[in-house]
Symmetry: C2
Subunit: 290 residues, 2 copies
Amino acid sequence: MRNLDEHTITQAVLTRNASAPDPRLREIMTSLVQHLHAFARETKLTEAEWEKGIEFLTAVGQICTPTRQEFILLSDTLGLSTLVTAQNHKKPEGCTEATVFGPFHVLDAPRFDLGADISAGLPGVPWFVRGTVRDIDGNPVPNATLEVWQADDAGFYDVQKAGRAANSFEGRAILQADSEGRYHFKTIIPDCYPIPHDGPVGKMLEALERHPWRPAHLHFMIISPNHERLVTHVFREHGEYLDSDAVFGVRSSLIADWVAHDAGTDPYGQAIDTPWFSLDFDFVLNPIAR
Amino acid sequence: MRNLDEHTITQAVLTRNASAPDPRLREIMTSLVQHLHAFARETKLTEAEWEKGIEFLTAVGQICTPTRQEFILLSDTLGLSTLVTAQNHKKPEGCTEATVFGPFHVLDAPRFDLGADISAGLPGVPWFVRGTVRDIDGNPVPNATLEVWQADDAGFYDVQKAGRAANSFEGRAILQADSEGRYHFKTIIPDCYPIPHDGPVGKMLEALERHPWRPAHLHFMIISPNHERLVTHVFREHGEYLDSDAVFGVRSSLIADWVAHDAGTDPYGQAIDTPWFSLDFDFVLNPIAR
């Protein structure tokens, strides 16, 4: 393995990797090395461009923190996340579609009872969200766990806010649907927002003259035994950016009417002196094949 | 741009990027997105594997410091660096070949006069290095700048050593060849060494059952007006790992005899009471086409 040129190097690396004991790792590395090399050959990548690439990836890694995941943003904006989501969630007709996970989920969200206000005091227009978790035959799935997370009415997630205490959360919750599959909670209407664009991914979008905006949405992750985990959003009908989501995550079946109501009485029968919104959205889980 | 699947997503991303004003950026991003997506489709990458990939790249970025460049290591061990070097340095017969830059160059190496001891007191076997910088016709190139860097006799670079002061360097120098193209300096024999393998790239090599070793070598970067910058190594004949360099950098034309001498008199006519080595190596620079 001496005197390798831009053509012979590829086989040399594959040969070196051929002793990997895990066949799946070998398979992934083979495809990765072939495509990485083909990319560099095809573009006749220069040393200066290679260096810029190294600097870019380093900056992406360095800006990551426990609450900021710039590599997920990069994957999202390059369409890789949508691709991986799509090819791993082929479902029977009628199941709720999955979409990108995004970088704003946390592992230690607070638990709330059904009916709770999960906004933790965020200012904004009150929003009452409810629905039923069902199986493919339309029957309720009892007691599913729902994780919900969302931006505030200025388009920011709690984890993006400077000076926030590590255990202080806004607009996120873990809820348990009832025995008839029903879930319901109160929060505020989230706005559309730009993905964090003060870092290297933002610079990339700028160089590409792409906007960083995502249409308004509410994140759900729904977990129930015997069903495939569902990670999805519910988007706002007629909202901005539905056709140019910076991360390519919009699916028509996930767009719903966020219904406006006048002040008066909320869905819990309480007096409410401001206008409010409601969302009714049922989820259909995909059974795990036996 | 809604309802994208693992096939339609690729064109959607390319379309989004098509407004990039810089045609070269567009070209690079097009190839990158196509290969990234093809890799994920070909391997049917799962979400768990995608997540592992995100974690790996994040760890690679997070371990980088001003003196540790893990993304260059990754590029080196995946053969990308050798590919990029090779395709950017096609030279006329007779020119000294280039090889990988590596992650251990620093920008602020100390300047030394010809004949100096550049080891800064490193223990080891004395080594007297000399040669001439020439043009393609064999004529000396006067006054070229040579940057030299090397590992110590345990295989470590100065920048890898804990507790080192930022302005303290060992085994690195910037020298200027004389008006007849000659350079010469004293140092110590570097050993072969493992590339830093306590980080994510080391874990990758381990999973692939690949060793992290590089054959012993001395780095040179030679800069002279009207010539292409030369970044190369001089390897040790009969040294270990010449055929399994962890970063695929060995070229036969860069392997030289590191000649052993008994104690007695060194090349500068000074008494020397230990055995020592010498290296004679001429460099031939590639003229910049006019």
